[in-house]
């Protein structure tokens, strides 16, 4: 099978699926699921209390042993200062400049904070991090981030953990159209392989998800399904999708029916 590679944050990857490390039945099952999915990037949340005295070390070692690029995230952070502190700890623990910037602005929807995320991105970029900012599909927030120097954007598909798929595909498409040179990753809300394929068909560079694989009855089988869906969606995008029409269009020309005689024409 031909393998097309792509680059993000200074690294070359062949998979366009990134997955989370939480809520699997066990670390061993996580390793199996990652391997079956083909994912080469795994995101890990690093909380301040786990970094203290390296209490999370045993689990981090299992994650490091997966032979993936680790994308630490700032889940659970409430302020810009917390984000920067966690990012610095993550750089030390995982020896990477990558950081997924997650700053929640609303506890019910877990919607990202659009003001805080821009400030935090500026602070992290100034410290030399490669920032993966988690945002809604808001075009203007994306503009501020790109202007600040981000070359990666991670809009949500739908609220975290909801599994609803792409709530606003038109807005993802608008981001793709307006920022053709930015790495565009859909993160959160992906519940089924078809959702991941849909994001890839829109021209996203990758998708990131956790719950749909980790909490599947068979995480390994679901990891494989997502790997295939992401590949299929990317190939479809590269092959050029047909534009949907509002009416039927026979594959075989119906030469005996002049087009102006068709019903409704």
């Amino acid at each position: 099978m031909d393998v097309d590679t792509w680059t993000i944050g200074g690294r070359t990857l062949s998979s366009r699926l990134m997955i989370g490390s939480a809520r699997y039945p066990s670390p061993a099952r996580m390793a199996d699921a990652v391997s079956a999915s083909g994912a080469e990037v795994i995101t890990v949340s690093l909380r301040r209390e786990s970094a203290k005295d390296r209490a999370g070390q045993a689990f981090w070692d299992l994650v490091k042993g997966l032979d993936c690029h680790v994308l630490p995230n700032t889940a659970g952070c409430r302020t810009v200062d917390e984000v920067v502190a966690i990012a610095q700890m993550a750089r030390e623990v995982f020896d990477t400049d990558w950081i997924k910037l997650e700053l929640i602005g609303d506890d019910v929807t877990l919607q990202p904070d659009p003001v805080g995320v821009v400030r935090a991105a500026e602070a992290l970029l100034a410290e030399g991090f490669v920032v993966f900012p988690y945002i809604t599909e808001d075009l203007v927030v994306a503009r501020y981030l790109v202007d600040a120097g981000c070359d990666i954007l991670m809009p949500w598909g739908a609220p975290i953990g909801s599994g609803q798929g792409l709530a606003h595909p038109d807005r993802i498409r608008a981001l793709r159209d307006r920022f053709p040179d930015v790495r565009l990753l859909v993160d959160a809300g992906i519940g089924a392989p078809s959702h991941a394929a849909a994001a890839m068909e829109l021209g996203c560079d990758a998708v990131l998800l956790n719950t749909a694989i980790a909490r599947a009855a068979d995480p390994v089988g679901m990891g494989r399904a997502f790997g295939e869906a992401v590949r299929a969606g990317r190939r479809a995008f590269e092959a050029g999708l047909m534009a949907p029409l509002p009416h039927a269009e026979a594959s075989t020309p119906t030469t005996d029916v002049p087009f102006w005689h068709r019903a409704g024409a």
Binding site: P25, S26, P27, R29, E49, K52, D53, A58, L62, A217
Partner: protein, 372 residues
């Protein structure tokens, strides 16, 4: 190490000699639920048994759930399979004493309306595991009969059959009482080294203990031999006379498998979180908020309950979160019981005794058995 195939119990016996590890004396190191069940089981099969008790077992802080069906959502299939007859094995182990320290009225699994899809997902998982007949739908009328205190509070729930619960401190005492009454010996202390036929204890006053068989039933301390990690679990206990529950109630929660367990005398245990962090510092505010929110969701009268205590335990877990039994001449290791110590200890004890005697090992345990 060689992982045994499903039909390899006879192979294991031949590896250890036709008579297994048969001898007369055994030392069990570790007085958690795994060690105490193994010690009592070996004693009853004729072994002169010594239990090395380091004190303060993490098992005393557990919820004590014997809930294999409910665990389908969180445990791997072999763990569920090995736990299916847990209640029956506890009845055999503790006899009449079990009634004083536990109950077998199943569990109630429910959810608040926004989380109803999780109830359907759980049912799907249970049916996929072939256990659909152990899950009974509970409508509001049935709920009134099962748990009058919750009548009108929940619209949908599942009642699981063949599940139970024990009160861990009381059950540990009952195991201890039976063991001592039947002639078992106890040595207080920590093992510095655990090997075939011998155990070295910390401190100078104890010589090496020796026996025909050593059973290593330590928790996290067994990390000197195994890739164990500690998985943090936080719990809280409250007291109120305002609410009466007949069985554990689990409110499906997107992050943690949390139960409210009635312990008798108006005491309720709520636990436990599951955090990949090896830190036994007291519970965090965030975790207590989550635990107490579940309690309040079960019944608002819990708002007036007294918080009696809270605590933290570190579950000893291997990378696959399943237990492991490793047998060699003069030594059987049984470790990594994770969140399933109370569920699996009796069947693991039967497996240890089976290996020791060169007889059969319960089939559901075979996925956990390795020959050294």
């Amino acid at each position: 190490m060689v992982r045994l195939a499903d039909n390899a119990s006879s192979g294991l016996a031949s590896h250890l000699g036709d008579d297994g590890l048969r001898g007369t004396s055994a030392i069990v190191v570790g007085a958690g639920v795994g060690g105490r069940c193994a010690a009592l089981t070996l004693l009853r099969q004729g072994w002169s048994t010594t239990l090395v008790d380091g004190g303060d077992p993490v098992a005393a802080k557990a919820g004590g759930m014997l809930a294999p069906v409910s665990e389908v959502d969180h445990a791997e299939p072999p763990v569920v399979a090995a736990g299916l007859d847990s209640v029956a094995r506890w009845k055999r182990l503790l006899g009449d004493a079990l009634a004083g320290v536990g109950s077998d009225r199943g569990s109630l699994l429910t959810a608040l309306r926004p989380e109803w899809p999780l109830l359907d997902q759980l049912a799907d998982r249970v049916r996929r595991a072939g256990l659909g007949d152990r899950l009974v739908a509970v409508d509001p009328d049935r709920l009134r009969a099962l748990e009058p205190a919750l009548a009108g509070r929940f619209v949908r729930a599942w009642h699981t059959r063949d599940e139970g619960v024990v009160d861990p401190p009381a059950a540990l005492s009952a195991l201890d009482a039976a063991y001592v009454a039947e002639g078992g010996r106890v040595v207080r202390g920590w093992a510095a080294e655990v090997g075939a036929h011998q155990v070295a204890l910390d401190g100078d006053e104890h010589p090496h203990l020796t026996a025909d068989l050593v059973v290593d039933a330590r928790g996290l301390a067994a990390r000197d031999t195994l890739a164990l990690r500690g998985v943090r679990g936080e719990f809280v206990e409250v007291h109120t006379d305002e609410v009466v529950l007949g069985r554990p109630v689990r409110v499906l929660h997107p992050r943690h498998p949390l139960y409210v367990v009635p312990r008798g005398g108006g005491r309720f245990y709520v636990g436990a979180t599951e955090v990949e962090r090896e830190d036994d510092a007291p519970p965090t505010v965030r975790s207590l908020l989550e635990l107490l929110s579940v309690l309040h969701a079960v019944h608002p009268a819990f708002a007036e309950a007294e918080v009696v205590r809270s605590g933290v335990g570190l579950r000893p877990a291997l990378p696959d979160n399943a237990p492991r039994i490793v047998a060699q001449e003069g030594l059987i290791r049984v470790n990594g019981l994770h969140r399933h110590g109370w569920l699996l200890a009796p069947i693991l004890a039967d497996a240890v005794a089976g290996i020791a005697a060169g007889s059969a090992v319960p089939t559901p345990v075979l996925p956990f058995v390795e020959a050294a």
